[in-house]
């Protein structure tokens, strides 16, 4: 399964994992990115994400295509949240399956690194006493 999507609803990781059914894949790597409750000593209450949605999907699709070319992987799923994401919830989920773990790990790391560089998604941290845009 190949899937890139953005969604406002919480991500159902189990439902995504259930899509990965290829019996020859011995490795399933699932990366979950979550908001931290502390940033530079300040307590973060929650994050809000926004995106240039059409361009973000395009960029994500390009990253996925590159991962599929560079690594021997099969399923590749990238789901990113939009809107308010509470502490502890998943903001991004990347699932990669492969015959062997090394390719799956490497592809997963490649995808999150590239996502953070180029995909037009932004997050704003909310504190008790204000908010700020946070890059990287």
């Amino acid at each position: 399964m190949k899937l890139c999507t953005l969604q406002y609803e919480p991500i159902d990781v189990d439902a995504l994992l259930a899509q990965c059914t290829n019996p020859s894949d011995g490795a399933v790597v699932c990366f979950i990115g979550r908001p931290r409750n502390i940033d530079n000593g300040r307590e973060v209450l929650y994050l809000e994400y926004e995106a240039h949605q059409s361009m973000a999907i395009k960029e994500l699709t390009t990253i996925m295509q590159k991962a599929l070319e560079q690594f021997t992987i099969n399923d590749c799923i990238v789901v990113h949240r939009l809107g308010r994401v509470d502490i502890g919830q998943a903001s991004v989920v990347i699932i990669v399956t492969a015959m062997h773990r090394k390719e799956a790990y490497n592809a997963s790391q490649f995808i999150i690194d590239e996502l953070k560089k180029s995909v037009p998604i932004w997050k704003k941290e909310y504190f008790n006493d204000g908010s700020q845009w946070k890059s990287g």
């Binding site: 990115g33 926004e50 037009p120 997050k123 845009w133 990287g136």
Partner: protein, 81 residues
């Protein structure tokens, strides 16, 4: 010529719009457009140097030329993940 400018995240906040049509001189470049917007907006000027620009959903260089009816996106440093 008419172009559409889309602003996102902090750029949208400081400019006060998310999508707006502009009438600009022919052959204006991406960096010239950013300078033009920064001319009358100090807050935008502060973040202008960090912006990336995309034309019709493709990242472009500062000297890329904008054409009639292009959609120009002002993209602050991204923060996905």
């Amino acid at each position: 010529m008419k172009i559409v400018v889309q602003a996102f995240a902090e750029a949208a906040e400081v400019l006060g719009f998310r999508k707006k049509q502009f009438d600009v001189e022919n052959d204006i470049t991406a960096s010239e457009l950013v300078r033009l917007l920064a001319h009358s907006n100090q807050e935008f000027k502060r973040i202008a140097k960090t912006l990336f620009v995309a034309i019709n959903e493709e990242y472009c260089s500062p000297d890329a030329v904008i054409h009639e009816n292009d959609v120009v996106d002002l993209i602050p440093p991204v923060g996905g993940g």
